[in-house]
């Protein structure tokens, strides 16, 4: 397939193996002599470990090893570090980072925390032996709600960390914001819960670890979204050089952030593999995943909006308390602080803003990135308070938003949160989205719903996003004699289709046949560095690395082309796969072929001279933005919500592959709708036991619960922040969907006086809210803790 261009909906190369059952996920890997590991997990939310007796387990058939805290302490293994980008309290002191060991040492602090690793010949032997490990606990009081954890008298997770407070962060102009509130005509204030959820990739986490005693080298195949960063963490824990550990992610069955972190289990397996001299395989069960995967959101916020009499926004003030679990996990402290601060206020013009975010230790599984990590929370806070203001002050919600969007003339603009908004046309996207919805004839949809005894609701939700994740990416290109071109990138596709999109960028920029490209990713043996997955960085950082490598290869190829053209290097121009000098031209294909043949090369150049690696470094993060709109119907008798339409306009800058971008938006919207209506991680408030510990209790959306979406792109304002002009597409769907869905449902309930329901808007909650009418305490969640 030649002449592939940026912007083509090129079909995916990875599909062939996935469609025929020939994908290679970690559970499909089986090595000679392989053993099986099972983790012994804490049954208590908070307890002191008195003793661990492994004798009975070790005596069982097939059992090879039981790893406990004794091994960890004897070996002097290090705790796993947090890599939070925000590490400083508002008063300048550092955040609290208590030691996070791969195995509990003296206390367990959440149900599911690893206490031991049992390794046996077979899985069933390991499972049986795990039951036989005797751990003697002294149970302690637990706290699972972050607001309660801050209160006086709450159970304390850590000695020396008063009030369970990890970090107390502030951003923005406090004095200016307070002044604007004091002088405003209108002020609205509402406590909002962004409920705790988890990513649930359909492939659970798992790994296969091996160690070679002769070379003292480790190999880890791991369902990881971040092999380079995780390798560094594991090497640090095990006191080995990172060069001793090859970390490879095979095909990964979804991640959405839940596979970003350096988790305990792989490092336990690496150690066990060394101890046994045999490979160790560990696959998490789904139920264990709910206990041990990182969670997302989990924020309780007071959001306040100051307006003029005619509805101009003057200031936004947010105070958030985020429950980050029992430890400062990889980036856990960042999400409720800097992560949620940056995009506060969305695409609206706010003269003043102030954000306070507190990250609090609680007796739950850890908090780490989940698709959007902070931006969905910020967008939800902003859009909920705007909707609430419209409802309680009597503004039309569409008009109120329209009036306050930043006009394009205002850009570039630095928001009071320090976000560098360079490009976009927010009013245009807003109107385009309304037009899309209007085409579906909202009046007719309303009439139909009402005719059937249902309530109709509509909401529009603009969002402002920002990218994140590792700022550097490596792209390496090797040209082979057989005509294939190897492309190795340090990004990590867990379904997004980089194997296609990044090949597309290379092919389009070199003007070569895209079928020739053989793609490798997420493998520390293939690229010396890599930023993996996260922050919608795949095209923004990875794509630009590939483009940069391609551009540099063109320069390297010019002398080769000049010789073929019997011209001078300086005379040679390159466009559309052709090198041109005067009237004659030669294709990139021919130049590549010549570059592998010493007879055709200029003096001093060797075959393979076009093989090239490049490292791209992002300067400033990009600002994807867009608008979501939803139409719903609510059955007042049952509280059941159904979608009548869903529309999205996105500005992702330049779109590399619209088909793949659509897929990202659709999947993101489905996850947002899932949280809005169904999904909820629930811990028992007294015992700290996980109530939603399986797919029977945790409501993932099914095919009949997600609407068809109509999606449009605006490419009229590409960013100049990177050469491809891309802004990032991976998380935006998830950012806009919660407010669109929730506000649409609340619009449907306005006749009942219902102004707020916290997510998820399950039929029961909707039904109860209808029965309660307008009775709702706007400060019922945070009280004085805000």
């Amino acid at each position: 397939m030649s002449n592939v261009k940026i912007g083509d909906s090129l079909k995916r190369f990875e599909d062939q193996r996935f469609l025929t059952g020939r994908g290679r996920y970690v559970d499909d890997i089986n090595l000679d002599g392989q053993t099986r590991a099972v983790v012994v997990r804490s049954p208590y939310a908070h307890a002191t470990i008195r003793s661990i007796d492994t004798a009975a387990a070790l005596a069982m058939e097939g059992v090879l090893l039981v790893v406990t805290r004794d091994d960890w302490q004897r070996e002097g293994f290090k705790p796993m570090p947090t890599k939070s980008a925000v590490k400083t309290n508002a008063d300048g002191t550092p955040l609290k980072e208590p030691p996070r060991h791969a195995l509990a040492i003296d206390r367990v602090r959440y149900v599911g925390e690893p206490v031991a690793l049992v390794v046996a010949e077979t899985l069933s032997q390991a499972q049986a032996a795990a039951e036989a490990v005797e751990v003697d606990y002294d149970e302690l009081p637990a706290v699972v709600d972050p607001v309660q954890a801050l209160a006086p008298g709450a159970p304390q997770l850590w000695d020396g960390i008063p009030n369970n407070l990890c970090i107390d962060f502030e951003l923005g102009d406090k004095a200016g914001t307070d002044k604007a509130f004091a002088e405003a005509d209108h002020v609205v204030s509402l406590d909002i819960l962004n409920n705790r959820v988890t990513a649930v990739p359909i492939e659970t986490r798992g790994c296969v670890a091996a160690h070679d005693a002769g070379s003292d080298r480790y190999t880890l195949w791991n369902a990881s979204q971040n092999v380079h960063a995780n390798r560094d963490t594991f090497a640090e824990v095990l006191n080995i050089a990172k060069e001793q550990l090859d970390h490879i992610a095979p095909d990964v069955g979804g991640g959405f952030g839940a596979k970003n972190s350096g988790y305990p289990e792989p490092v336990l397996c690496l150690y066990a593999a060394r101890r046994l001299g045999r490979p160790v395989k560990w696959i998490n069960s789904r139920s264990e995943s709910f206990l041990s995967d990182t969670h997302g959101r989990g924020q309780t916020s007071r959001v306040e909006l100051a307006l003029t009499r005619d509805g101009r926004f003057l200031a936004l003030r947010t105070s958030t308390v985020g429950g980050i679990g029992a430890y400062a996990w990889t980036v856990g402290p960042f999400t409720p602080t800097g992560g949620s601060a940056r995009t506060q206020g969305g695409p609206y013009h706010f003269p003043a803003m102030h954000y306070r975010g507190r990250a609090v230790f609680i007796n739950t599984a850890p908090m780490d990135p989940y698709r959007g990590a902070g931006r969905p929370e910020a967008t939800f806070q902003t859009e909920r308070i705007v909707e609430y203001a419209a409802r309680t002050l009597g503004f039309d919600p569409v008009e109120l938003r329209r009036k306050n969007l930043m006009p394009p003339e205002m850009l570039p603009h630095k928001t009071p949160m320090g976000l560098d908004v360079d490009s976009g046309d927010f009013p245009l996207l807003f109107e385009e989205t309304l037009k899309m919805a209007d085409k579906a004839d909202l009046a007719a949809l309303r009439a139909k719903a009402e005719g059937a005894g249902r309530k109709f609701g509509f909401a529009i939700a603009p969002y402002l996003e920002c990218t994140g994740g590792g700022p550097k990416e490596h792209a390496g290109v090797v040209f082979n004699k057989d005509g294939s071109i190897e492309l190795a990138v340090g990004t990590s596709s867990t379904g997004m289709g980089h194997e296609t999109a990044l090949a597309q960028i290379l092919a389009a920029n070199l003007g070569v046949d895209v079928d020739r490209i053989k793609f490798r990713q997420a493998d520390t043996t293939a690229t010396p560095l890599g930023g993996g997955h996260g922050g919608s960085r795949g095209m923004e950082v990875g794509g630009n690395a590939v483009k940069q490598a391609a551009d540099e290869i063109v320069e390297l190829a010019k002398p080769v082309a000049a010789r073929l053209l019997q011209s001078e290097t300086e005379e040679v121009e390159f466009a559309d796969g052709q090198f041109q000098a005067g009237a004659s031209s030669v294709s990139m294909n021919d130049v590549i072929e010549a570059s592998l043949d010493s007879d055709k090369l200029p003096d001093g150049m060797e075959p393979g001279c076009l093989d090239h690696s490049s490292v791209f470094e992002r300067g400033v993060i990009s600002i994807p933005n867009g608008v979501h709109a939803a139409a719903v119907e609510v059955d007042p008798e049952t509280g059941v919500v159904g979608f009548l339409g869903y529309w999205v306009m996105d500005d992702f800058g330049k779109i590399i592959n619209p088909m793949l971008a659509d897929g990202q938006v659709m999947g993101g919207v489905a996850q947002g709708i899932g949280q809005a209506l169904l999904e909820d991680i629930v811990y028992d408030p007294d015992t700290g036991q996980l109530v939603t510990g399986s797919l029977m209790d945790y409501g993932l959306p099914h095919a009949d619960e997600i609407p068809n979406m109509e999606i449009g792109y605006y490419e009229g304002a590409p960013t100049k922040k990177n050469p491809l002009g891309v802004k990032g597409a991976g998380e935006a769907g998830c950012v806009g969907a919660c407010p669109a869905a929730v506000n649409a449902v609340l619009d449907a309930l306005k006749d009942y006086g219902v102004t707020h329901i916290d997510m998820p808007l399950t039929p029961m909650k909707v039904w109860k809210a209808i029965r309660a009418g307008g009775k709702h305490d706007p400060h019922g969640l945070l009280g004085d803790a805000a």
């Binding site: 559970d27 492939e203 867990t494 379904g495 897929g663 659709m666 797919l695 029977m696 099914h702 009949d704």
Partner: protein, 155 residues
Amino acid sequence: MPEISLTVNGEQITKSVEGRTLLVEFIRETLKLTGTHIGCDTSQCGACTVHLNGKAVKSCTMLAVQADGAEITTIEGLAPDGRLNPMQQAFKDHHGLQCGFCTPGMIMRAMALVAENPEPTETEVRHGLEGNICRCTGYQNIVAAVLDGAKALRS
């Protein structure tokens, strides 16, 4: 250990299995057909869906010994020579898969659905896929693929 005989992807197989071995384990571990996936432990996700005597079943919900004498088709059996069948092709054309982990189960379920109801409506497809969870695609493209795959299989 009991011995079972069954046909898998057209091949006659006789193996001894432990009584407690699940069909999905037998398929993945014993037969090394790793296209059938495991996504849960409560029979909810459908990643393990295969055809048993022409019907879609979740292979994690039954024991291997219960499949004695049965005819089983797994995802590997749909395109033995690597050429995608019309349903597989429709999934590719409509971008009905991302990470690919739910995909074999989705396709096996979709094939059974279309065999029972060759001309399904969108609503019927969405209901028909209720037992299969996809976390990546938001279902829209899967539904489009199944409708299109059904059409291609009809012609």
